[in-house]
């Protein structure tokens, strides 16, 4: 093997899984135990070859995340008062405001973090879950999609932090003040629910169909 010190040189394809070998691998530390062992002897984690309730939790949290994403877009995220005049802006409205001021780069960051990433995550998680349910063969590309979804989720929280900082900073009484809108709460919930949904996904399920036989 090319320098990465991996010892599974004898059989690169097809891969033998712990389940197919009648064993159960720990999803925390990788230690291998005989099938039927309840608790990992190394790290004490609960052992389960495949998380059977994984998809139920994935769907439940995903739907919760999608539902609260609607008010997050309908209600105002920011209330800006300048010289007694108050304007309210939604997530998408805020992006347009930024673009109007010529800050195209920042408008793009906010648009990607608050619209593109959440919506793509809903679609990606649903797509992976449907594939697993139909028993379709998983490829490395599907696994990498899962990794990206799991990694990128927390970055959607940017918009909530922007609102927090602006509201803390811009409090100049009559001249200018910025206050958070109720959409900040539902947006934060949506990001949190989708993160829990992605974390509930047992990535081993993505590969399983490839092995064919239910062991």
């Amino acid at each position: 093997m090319s320098g990465d010190g991996m010892a599974n040189a004898e059989r690169a394809q097809p891969v033998l899984t712990a389940r197919a070998a009648g064993l159960v691998g720990c999803s925390q530390c990788g230690h291998v135990h005989p099938r039927g062992t309840e608790e990992c002897s190394v790290c004490g984690a609960h052992l389960q070859s495949r998380d059977k309730t994984s998809l139920q939790r994935v769907w439940a949290w995903l739907f919760a995340g999608m539902v609260v994403y609607i008010p997050a877009n309908v209600y105002p995220m920011l209330r800006t008062s300048t010289l007694g005049h108050t304007t309210e802006s939604t997530i998408v409205g805020g992006v347009f405001d930024l673009a109007d001021h010529g800050a195209y780069g920042i408008a793009l960051i906010v648009f990607v973090a608050s619209v593109v990433i959440p919506v793509s995550k809903f679609i990606a998680i649903a797509y992976l879950a449907i594939r697993v349910q139909r028993g379709l063969p998983g490829t490395p590309a599907h696994f990498h999609l899962y990794e990206v979804v799991e990694f990128i989720g927390r970055w959607s929280m940017i918009d909530v932090f922007v609102v927090a900082i602006l509201s803390a900073l811009v409090q100049l009484d009559f001249v200018a003040s910025i206050n958070p809108g109720i959409a900040a709460v539902s947006f934060a919930l949506s990001v949190a629910f989708t993160m829990i949904s992605a974390n509930s996904f047992d990535p081993k399920l993505i590969w399983d169909s490839r092995e064919g036989a239910e062991a």
Binding site: M1, G5, Q28, C29, C43, S49, M157, V170
Partner: protein, 207 residues
């Protein structure tokens, strides 16, 4: 538990079975199927993690209490700290969000720093692991996705550009403490090799 099973490792992400490789310090072992890094031991990793966690902890205290940003326009000024940003949602119905933001940017990152010092300091010194070190380490790994200090600092950058046209913004010492904290955290997590940690914890526990 039979001995032959100790020579095997199953990829935590795809269940592919491997013979436990001999991984030298500085090398890394990846899963043949999904590429997940199985092991990546680093030289004196535990000492580094303890030192960087302690640094991050000190920087976090500075970041919370020193002035973070100062806004000035038309002779009016406003200083705000990270604590003010947490309290931004403290009015009425949005109060729970204040607690959530406080947890995500201050409380959970600090919990991780303290937990890692607790777990790794005795091990860096070559002692037996502290009591409940395993549980504490598991907790620290579980809250990892929820410690969002680095997301917060990008949020600050976006907010700064949003107000740049409106007023003059001065960066306070806490801002730089927070930037330092984020860099230290990222560096610290690059030393973390979960499999090696569990193996070391297990080998040194009196059982």
């Amino acid at each position: 538990m039979s001995d032959s099973l100790s020579d095997l490792i199953a990829c935590p992400k795809c269940d592919a079975l491997h013979h436990l490789p001999k991984v030298e310090v500085g090398e890394k072992a990846q899963c043949v199927r999904c590429g997940t890094v199985l092991m990546a031991p680093k030289e004196r990793a535990m000492t580094w993690i303890v030192m960087l966690s302690a640094t991050a902890l000190i920087l976090m205290v500075a970041a919370v209490f020193f002035p973070f940003l100062e806004l000035s326009t038309h002779g009016l000024g406003r200083k705000s700290s990270v604590f003010d940003a947490i309290l931004a949602f403290s009015h009425g119905l949005m109060l729970p969000l204040s607690f959530a933001v406080g947890a995500l940017i201050v409380f959970l990152p600090m919990t991780r720093f303290i937990a890692q010092i607790y777990v790794f300091a005795p091990m860096a010194l070559g002692w037996a692991p502290a009591r409940h070190a395993g549980e504490v380490f598991r907790l620290s790994e579980r809250i990892r996705p929820w410690a969002m200090a680095e997301v917060f600092i990008i949020g600050v950058a976006v907010a700064l550009i949003k107000v740049a046209g409106l007023a003059h913004v001065t960066l306070g010492p806490a801002f730089w403490a927070f930037v330092g904290l984020v860099i230290v955290t990222i560096l610290k997590d690059s030393f973390m090799c979960r499999v090696t940690v569990w193996q070391t914890l297990n080998a040194r526990s009196p059982s």
